[in-house]
């Protein structure tokens, strides 16, 4: 019924290399993107913006970033929170130093800064592997957050030690600061997410993505067939940090508005993003979206049901959420180590064969 391939004949290389080779897929994704850009901005209100759409979009971007590093290149990182902090502080410094600069450029530049920091902290990965690397990335997490706490230059010597996003306009509409309308912030984030998700998808299908995966699957073998580990690992670190930096910048500028590094970019954020990609699916761009949505929305849902529905107290529900999250992670690792994205792949395969599975 659905996902029939009969009729989809590939007669050129262009067709062979499409991201979505099945016509139905293409149409569906097109409709989703069109809906997100053309319809949602008219329906969005403050609640949906702040509690659902913005965080899910931003976490998706961070998850894509970590997925490039961990899912595609196999380098486990626990420094996501630290790198997001770099993005946030870079965007703050840039936009306060050059108030006239276009916000798109500010965000991209902060991604660039994070990417450089990522390369520096990625250097040890050439010698250190596996768990050892995971612990080494903790150094970046704790050091960076400490740095932003202790060096006043980063927060422009403000008395509270916090940074807060100044009001900035894009095409005459505020996208940061307290007066930004929900649709504007949403569209601003959506643009980044859609564009960079497409770029990530293409990167992972191309030369770089393939060398990342070669390193992930067996680094020595990859080295022998001519994949340069230095270039490959550092490129993975830099691209990944670029994405995480952008996510951090958006997180600060558009979503939170005011940030205190220990709280906003602590180690728990690193774990959160790691869980997103585990549950969503390691090595899958779609998985990053599903994982981010799932990990962010599930606690909100549980909270609403138990606190709102049953009237339990919030701290008990908070503990319950911990248990459920932990349990789910173990469950997923046991039942489906490739995450929700794999479930989708299996479903797709079934649909293609239906109703003649053999």
């Amino acid at each position: 019924m659905f996902y029939r391939e009969s009729g989809d004949f590939k007669t050129s290389y262009v067709q062979d290399q499409q991201i979505f080779p099945i016509a139905l897929d293409r149409v569906f994704v097109g409709i989703v993107i069109a809906f997100a850009f053309l319809v949602v901005p008219f329906l969005i209100d403050d609640y949906w913006e702040k509690s659902v759409l913005l965080p899910v979009l931003i976490w998706s971007l961070a998850a894509i970033g970590l997925n490039i590093l961990t899912g595609y290149c196999g380098q486990v990182s626990l420094g996501t929170g630290g790198f997001m902090a770099v993005g946030a502080y870079a965007s703050y410094k840039i936009t306060t130093a050059f108030p006239e600069l276009n916000m798109f450029i500010v965000v991209l530049l902060s991604g660039g800064v994070t990417s450089l920091v990522g390369i520096v902290f990625g250097l040890p990965s050439l010698r250190i592997k596996g768990f050892y690397l995971a612990v080494a990335t903790l150094a970046s997490q704790f050091f960076l957050v400490w740095l932003f706490n202790k060096v006043p230059w980063f927060y422009n010597y403000s008395a509270s030690g916090q940074i807060s996003a100044p009001e900035r306009l894009v095409f005459g509409v505020a996208i940061s600061g307290p007066n930004a309308p929900p649709w504007a912030t949403y569209l601003f984030c959506l643009t980044f997410v859609v564009v960079f998700a497409l770029i990530a998808k293409n990167l992972t299908r191309g030369r770089y993505g393939r060398s990342w995966m070669a390193i992930r699957d067996m680094d020595i073998a990859a080295e022998i067939i001519g994949v340069a580990p230095l270039k490959t690992k550092l490129s993975a670190f830099s691209v990944s940090s670029f994405y995480i930096g952008i996510a951090g910048a958006l997180f600060f500028l558009v979503y939170l508005g005011a940030v205190e590094p220990t709280e906003a970019f602590g180690i728990d954020k690193s774990f959160l993003v790691l869980f997103m990609i585990i549950i969503g699916g390691l090595g899958s761009i779609l998985g990053s979206f599903i994982g981010a949505a799932f990990m962010f929305l599930m606690p909100v849902l549980i909270k609403n049901v138990f606190v709102g529905g049953f009237g339990w107290s919030t701290d008990i529900v908070a503990h319950l959420i911990f248990m459920i999250v932990g349990g789910l992670i173990m469950f997923f690792l046991i039942v489906e180590p490739h995450g929700l994205a794999q479930l989708w792949r299996v479903t797709k395969e079934k649909l293609r064969l239906w109703p003649f599975p053999h």
Partner: protein, 333 residues
């Protein structure tokens, strides 16, 4: 001696004591890693959970009291009677053994032959689960734990060190917590017991066999699953000791589970597979971070203890990726 030197000595001594605490947690990691190749992130939370359970038994709390009260609108909190220290500790050990058995049954069994990194992430999930469970069972408030270990500064040591200072200088003696000294003694005792156990008992030999080679151990008839339960139980007991020590020092609270993170650089320094490595690594990290904070800390704004251990481990790894006492990493295609 001038007060400066004495102060430095005091910092080093306190660093050693903190290091012992780190080692206690790292010890649990090493045990499990050696026997099953699993990097057990949940070790810190196990310490928290064990300490919470111990306090719960001591004070006679009703498990899940808050949850039950919330569900049924009742107001139960306490049985009214608690157990004495010895029985409470025995009961807690039983709980930890039960926990080990459950973990093997429900989680590890299904994850055999998965990649190490998947197992690592599973233990992160386990850590989250236990954190929630511990708080839900016993409540999230900070609890004091007292099992009769003396604590507080040692006056005797203060008096002795005061006489060391050169005449006429302003020096009031060194501060050392008696609890820390006890912790060090208990840690040494623990290592001795563990060594004896693994050298001279049948189970201990089986443990070492499994650590050496899983398949060879299986072929001579050692049940891997039993060994795993045993190892996790032992790690649970080590966690209990660590939990008691940390708990008596700074109260039983959530931050206890964060020492697991501190134990990671300790492991890296010492090597994942070496018990002496865990001890030495802990001492190096403990002394290193205290000295760094003492000398460099004031220049850069303090609180360097947050990251120093990790950065030290990072630099160390650059030169010796397998840690101080770790087995050589041999890579094959």
């Amino acid at each position: 001696m001038s007060p400066d030197i004495l102060n430095t000595i005091e910092v080093i001594l306190n660093g050693l004591m903190t290091g012992v605490m780190y080692s206690l947690v790292a010890l649990g990691f090493v045990l499990i890693f050696k026997a099953s190749g699993i990097f057990n992130y949940a070790q810190g939370v196990m310490a928290l959970f064990a300490a919470l359970t111990l306090v719960g038994f001591q004070t006679g709390q009703i498990p899940f009291a808050h949850l039950i009260n919330d569900m049924f609108g009742t107001h139960y909190h306490n049985w009214g009677v608690g157990f004495n220290n010895f029985i409470a500790i025995v009961l807690t050990i039983l709980v930890m053994i039960l926990f080990a058995w459950l973990v093997e049954r429900l989680v590890l069994k299904h994850l055999v032959n998965q990649e190490p990194i998947i197992l690592f992430m599973a233990t992160i999930g386990l850590a989250f689960f236990m954190e929630g469970l511990g708080d839900l069972m016993w409540g999230a408030n900070i609890k004091t734990l007292d099992v009769g270990i003396p604590s507080g500064g040692s006056f005797w040591w203060e008096d002795v060190t005061r006489t060391w200072a050169s005449a006429g200088s302003e020096y009031y003696g060194m501060y050392i917590d008696v609890l820390d000294v006890w912790a060090a003694a208990i840690a040494v005792l623990l290592v001795v017991i563990l060594t004896l156990f693994s050298q001279y008992t049948k189970t201990g030999r089986a443990l070492r066999a499994v650590a050496d080679d899983h398949q060879a151990a299986l072929t001579v008839g050692i049940s891997l699953r039993t060994i795993w339960v045993i190892v996790w139980s032992i790690a649970g007991m080590v966690a209990l000791v660590a939990g008691i020590m940390w708990g008596s020092k700074s109260g039983v609270q959530f931050s206890l589970s964060l020492i697991a993170l501190k134990a990671l650089p300790v492991l890296i320094l010492g090597g994942f597979t070496s018990i002496p490595g865990a001890i030495v690594g802990g001492l190096i990290i403990g002394v290193g971070e205290k000295l760094f904070e003492f000398w460099i800390g004031p220049l850069v704004g303090g609180a360097t203890e947050n990251w120093f251990a990790y950065v030290l481990a990072l630099f160390f790894l650059m030169f010796r990726p397998q840690g101080l006492f770790g087995e050589r990493i041999i890579e094959r295609v």
